[in-house]
Amino acid sequence: MTAMNMIQALNSALDVMLAKDPDVLVFGQDVGYFGGVFRATEGLQKRHGPTRCFDAPIAESGLVAVGIGMSVYGLRPVVEIQFADYIYPAYDQIVSEAARIRYRSGGDFHVPLTIRTPYGGGIYGGQTHSQSPEALFTHVTGLKTVIPSNPRDAKGLLISAIEDNDPVLFLEPKRLYSGPFDGYHDRPVQPWSKHPQSEVPDGYYKVALGEAAVVREGSALTVLCYGTMVHVALAAAEASGIDAEIVDLRTLMPLDIGTIVRSVQKTGRCVVAHEATMTCGFGAELSALVQEHCFYHLEAPVQRVAGWDTPYPHAFEWDYFPGPARVAEGMRRVLAS
């Protein structure tokens, strides 16, 4: 075990896989010599050589397409899109190609590609460095979508993603890279070292895709969340004194419906929380599933807490970000009805 922040854990996952499997390559803008703008690939080129970890032109569609071609050859490439906000030029390659090649070829070809990209707000990044576009990808059948919330999961999930034979979009909550940010932007920043999930096993291990984790057991209500919002929900439960059960989904597609249903049937109340804009967000899917699977156990309508339906506004970072106060308010709403 080594204490790591999330960046170090991701770096360790890539390092382990580069050492374990000669078919793993890592590339993207600034990831080679420099080690990435967030340092996720620091030292990898030096340790594994320039053909294993290298810089790429600023062309997201080209990056993903090249990753697809390498996958078709038989490699397991890991592509980094520097910010999720810049992934849209690659949308056609992800949606029409990576996600559909297995199906459209009748299983003749498949694409074991991992696309890593930092997402989410809380870093004063404005509308081009703060978006949470997960729902645009969970809607795409054939694609897996993974979002870790702590270093230990981040490493194990990334190794699973790289070894998966389907394309995986690996969204990294960038506000969590250096610490378990709980939404209290006006309090001192907590480092990961004080968090139990910063104890990361050395070497190779996996956290299975498609398995949620109950990160806080409770009886009053269930909060379904992922990424940064896991820590925000925990803070909201503590601040409000509400005995919330908090489920960290970890993988959005395929979703761990069993854990969700067990929790909501137990508590009878459900809050869905994400940073992404509310309308047609992943919370809408979660609300629908909870309604379909748990209707007769529900004591109140499902409540959603999400980013407002505006672009991410730079000067209004904390008016926009759904912090602990808003999550607690959502909890009170679901308890009041």
């Binding site: 490699l75 070829s105 003749d108 498609g210």
Partner: protein, 410 residues
């Protein structure tokens, strides 16, 4: 005082529209055999003139002339002729099948057979092809079973891709032929990625990809050229300039001062412009590019100058946007006729043998169609098992798809 003239917007127009007499007199066509064949290690910059001319081997009398003559054995030439004729017969046949309402859609490659067949024969069978949707000749030249192609078009129970796609969207991993997308140009940078992987693994296989002239306007075309150039990928990137993108003439995709081959120059790649109706010229260009790629000297862009003799697909009527007889006036002729003339000229072929081969490929396609149709067609209700509809979305079927299978009654 500055000149404050009135601006006007230029909208490009083709030279010939329905009702016009086809006129190709403005095309600059160098004589066959006029160009030197540069050594494969020539710097890309020194090759720039090849992007603005036409590599031609077969002259008007059917003789193979000049430095680009690949000097192929008659046996290979006859195979090329047969594959081209089989492709044309297959296309004619499937076009009629579509008109009879037995398949939903079809795309012919008439007039472009030399590009596909010569490219396939100039490469190794182990080289990976990332096709557009008009490369059926490539697949035929690799010996892929006609029956499988037809069963795909019929979407019947033997459709290799399980009824998942429109007719002609073949996939043949065992023949190193990537699944046809239908989205334009996506395969071009994928081919570059495959080639980079091959180089990374110190393999000796190279990649080849095709797009049409219209698709060169897509961003992925440019991404492919840039990545190929930056990483010196062993890939041959082909633009089949058949003059038309559905109803849009190629001047809409590329300012007429430039050529598609010249797109290579800015990326530091060789760009060769080839008479696409000249089997030997296409073969020679692919062979040159393949030698260069295998020698670790990187990618080549090849523009095949040809003409789409028929509609874009069965869904458009070309007579509504271009002169009906334009194909007859095309100055570079018919690729099958030209190779036939060459074989006769060198004394290894005759009109009788040609007629007999023509009959043979017609019979073969007719009999294969009969067999495919006896297996079934979408129209007669033969199709893969409905349960397969939910397979291959993911490697394993997740719970939500299993629930939907149940709901669908499978």
């Amino acid at each position: 005082m500055r000149n404050r003239g009135t601006l006007s917007l230029h909208i490009p127009q083709p030279q010939n529209r329905p009702g016009d007499a086809p006129d190709f007199s403005s095309l600059q066509i160098p004589p066959a055999g006029a160009l030197e064949r540069p050594s494969i290690d020539t710097a890309a910059r020194a090759l720039a003139p090849y992007a603005y001319t036409l590599i031609r081997v077969l002259d008007e009398d059917g003789r193979a002339v000049g430095a680009w003559n690949p000097r192929l054995e008659p046996q290979l030439l006859k195979k090329g002729l047969r594959d081209m004729m089989l492709t044309r017969a297959f296309d004619e046949h499937m076009y009629r099948v579509q008109r009879q309402g037995k398949i939903s859609f079809y795309v012919k490659s008439t007039g472009e057979e030399a590009v596909n067949v010569a490219a396939a024969l100039a490469l190794e069978a182990s080289d990976m092809c990332f096709p557009a949707y008009r490369q059926q000749g490539f697949l035929i030249a690799r010996g892929y079973p006609l029956l499988d192609m037809m069963c795909q078009c019929f979407n019947n129970v033997r459709d290799p891709i399980k009824g998942r796609q429109l007719p002609i969207m073949y996939s043949a991993n065992a023949y190193n032929f990537f699944t046809v997308s239908g989205n334009l140009g996506t395969q071009f940078p994928q081919a570059v990625g495959w080639a980079m992987a091959s180089a990374y693994k110190n393999d000796d296989r190279i990649a080849v990809s095709f797009v049409g002239d219209g698709t060169t306007a897509e961003g992925d075309f440019h991404h492919a050229l840039n990545f190929a150039a930056v990483y010196r990928a062993p890939v041959i990137l082909n633009v089949v300039n058949n003059q038309w993108a559905i109803s849009s003439f190629n001047g809409v995709a590329c300012n007429e001062e430039a050529t598609f081959a010249a797109r290579a120059i800015g990326y530091g790649l060789p760009g060769l412009r080839v008479d696409g109706n000249d089997f030997l010229a296409v073969y020679a260009a692919l062979q040159w590019a393949a030698e260069r790629a295998r020698a670790n000297l990187g990618a080549t862009l090849i523009e095949h100058y040809t003409y789409r003799a028929d509609g874009h697909s069965t869904s458009d009527d070309p007579n509504r946007y271009r002169p009906a007889d334009e194909w007859q006036a095309w100055p570079l002729g018919d690729p099958i006729t030209r190779l036939k003339q060459h074989l006769i000229q060198v004394g290894v072929w005759s009109e009788e043998e040609h007629q007999s081969l023509s009959d043979e490929v017609a019979t073969l396609t007719r009999e294969t169609q009969r067999e495919a149709e006896s297996i079934g067609t979408l129209a007669t209700g033969s199709r893969p098992d409905k349960a397969t509809m939910f397979e291959d979305v993911f490697e394993q079927i997740p719970w939500h798809l299993q629930a939907q299978m149940k709901e669908a009654g499978v």
